[in-house]
């Protein structure tokens, strides 16, 4: 009787630790799988770059179709930045610095980060859904039956399409945002156009600010594209599995973008 009671307690303890450990081991296994998947994608990169029309089609899907949302969002973000920034700067009599504020925040942070978040929800989810559905309808298996490697034929072009599109989209976001800031600052609030552009140009450094923003967006492009193709490839081959995978792409991408942004910012702008 007594032995039985102790046995039960031990059983509860063991179950508790297994409950804690299972998600951890799952996550580690998945991470390892993602890393090997990344290596496989890189290994099949030459084939997808040689048949560049495949990658071109993916740039069209991921990049060209995202231009509208990126451009419009950038314009509005820049206009809001200008309105809010003006409200604060005018109290210190520094409203002529509005251009610097708008340009620096867009080029350093908002262009790459918000651009990548929009890219993940617009293009990343579509990539995951497409690959996941191809898996669910056994198209990937059919390719393998025909001795066509699905990673070389489907995954690698989508990955590189995303990687190539992302920095271009981020640059467009920043450019549209600065144009929006110009519209509000100069056209609506009546700042002097010359001082708006001149102060901006004298305070924004090409290497330190613009190039670092481009490097950031390249990192985000790699991260988002990898997450999107991996989640699609890893999806359970059911309707529910594909929907879960699509959700996971958006959530994981957002978290990875923001965490990666902190790390990159800490490296790039620490001493400046």
């Amino acid at each position: 009787m007594r032995w039985n009671w102790e046995w039960r307690v031990a059983n509860v303890v063991v179950r508790f630790f297994s409950r804690v450990g299972a998600p951890l081991t799952d996550a580690i296994v998945k991470f390892g799988f993602a890393c090997r998947f990344f290596v496989a994608v890189l290994r099949h990169t030459p084939t997808s770059l040689l048949r560049f029309s495949l990658t071109l089609r993916e740039i069209w899907f991921a990049g060209v179709l995202s231009v509208l949302i990126i451009g419009v969002s950038g314009l509005f973000v820049g206009m809001v930045l200008a309105l809010q920034g003006y409200d604060t700067l005018v109290r210190f009599g520094a409203s002529s610095s509005l251009g610097i504020l708008v340009a620096l925040s867009l080029v350093r942070e908002l262009g790459p980060v918000v651009g990548a978040l929009l890219f993940a929800s617009r293009a990343g989810s579509a990539i995951t859904a497409e690959i996941g559905l191809m898996k669910a309808t056994e198209q990937l298996a059919a390719m393998e039956m025909m001795a066509v490697n699905p990673i070389a034929r489907v995954v690698a072009p989508k990955f590189w399409g995303g990687v190539i599109s992302m920095p271009l989209l981020a640059a467009m976001f920043s450019a549209m945002g600065i144009f929006g800031g110009y519209l509000i600052g100069v056209q609506l609030l009546g700042l002097d156009a010359g001082s708006f552009w001149n102060q901006m140009q004298s305070q924004v450094d090409f290497r330190l600010d613009v190039l670092n923003g481009v490097i950031k967006s390249a990192f985000f492009g790699i991260a988002v594209s990898l997450i999107a193709v991996f989640e699609g490839f890893d999806a359970a081959p059911t309707a529910e599995g594909v929907s879960h995978a699509t959700t996971r792409t958006v959530v994981t991408s957002a978290l990875v973008i923001l965490a990666l942004d902190f790390v990159l910012t800490a490296f790039m702008f620490r001493g400046a």
Binding site: I59, W60, V64, L168, A171, M172, S174, D205
Partner: protein, 161 residues
């Protein structure tokens, strides 16, 4: 979507992205930090640098002629040593003086170079000997208050006599 149309739109997309980058490079930003090859460095020692920062501009007659590249404390004499990278185009005589100034009331601090009359110019590694420190607002106020109190005390003394 036909193959030709995809090529067209992707091409347009790439050109638009490149144009955005070009806009950021030419219209929005500039190469403000000078490359190390076209500048020479000199040092200047100050008793107090206030809130001067690395990358702060060095100006002469209001024109930016260089940047502060390094700030450190001399551990023996307890003075601040600022290293300045000056543009190769500009030469200053050896008895030039440096002072730390503030742009506007609350603006950033910068180093102002006042040219001297010596025939020899400052060379790589030289040191500016005539410097004046940053004005620290607290010290200025306390000095003002002390002098005020002193005159008030003297007046009171005269009054009682």
């Amino acid at each position: 979507m036909k193959r030709g149309m995809i090529d067209f739109w992707v091409g347009l997309f790439a050109v638009a992205g490149a144009a955005a980058l070009l806009f950021l490079a030419l219209k929005v930003s500039s190469q403000s930090t000078q490359p190390a090859s076209s500048s020479y460095t000199i040092t200047a020692e100050f008793e107090n640098i206030g809130s001067l920062k690395v990358r702060a501009p060095v100006k002469s007659a209001g024109v930016v002629v260089g940047r502060v590249t390094r700030i450190e404390l001399d551990p023996e004499r307890y003075v601040a040593r600022a290293t300045l990278a000056l543009d190769n185009h500009y030469h200053f005589s050896r008895d030039s003086s440096a002072e730390i100034l503030t742009s506007g009331l609350l603006g950033e601090q910068y180093i102002g170079l006042e040219p001297g009359a010596d025939e020899h110019n400052l060379k790589q590694g030289d040191r500016i000997t005539i410097t004046s420190s940053a004005i620290v607002l607290e010290q200025l106020i306390s000095r003002f208050l002390f002098s005020k109190a002193e005159t008030a005390g003297e007046q009171a003394k005269e009054h009682t006599q």
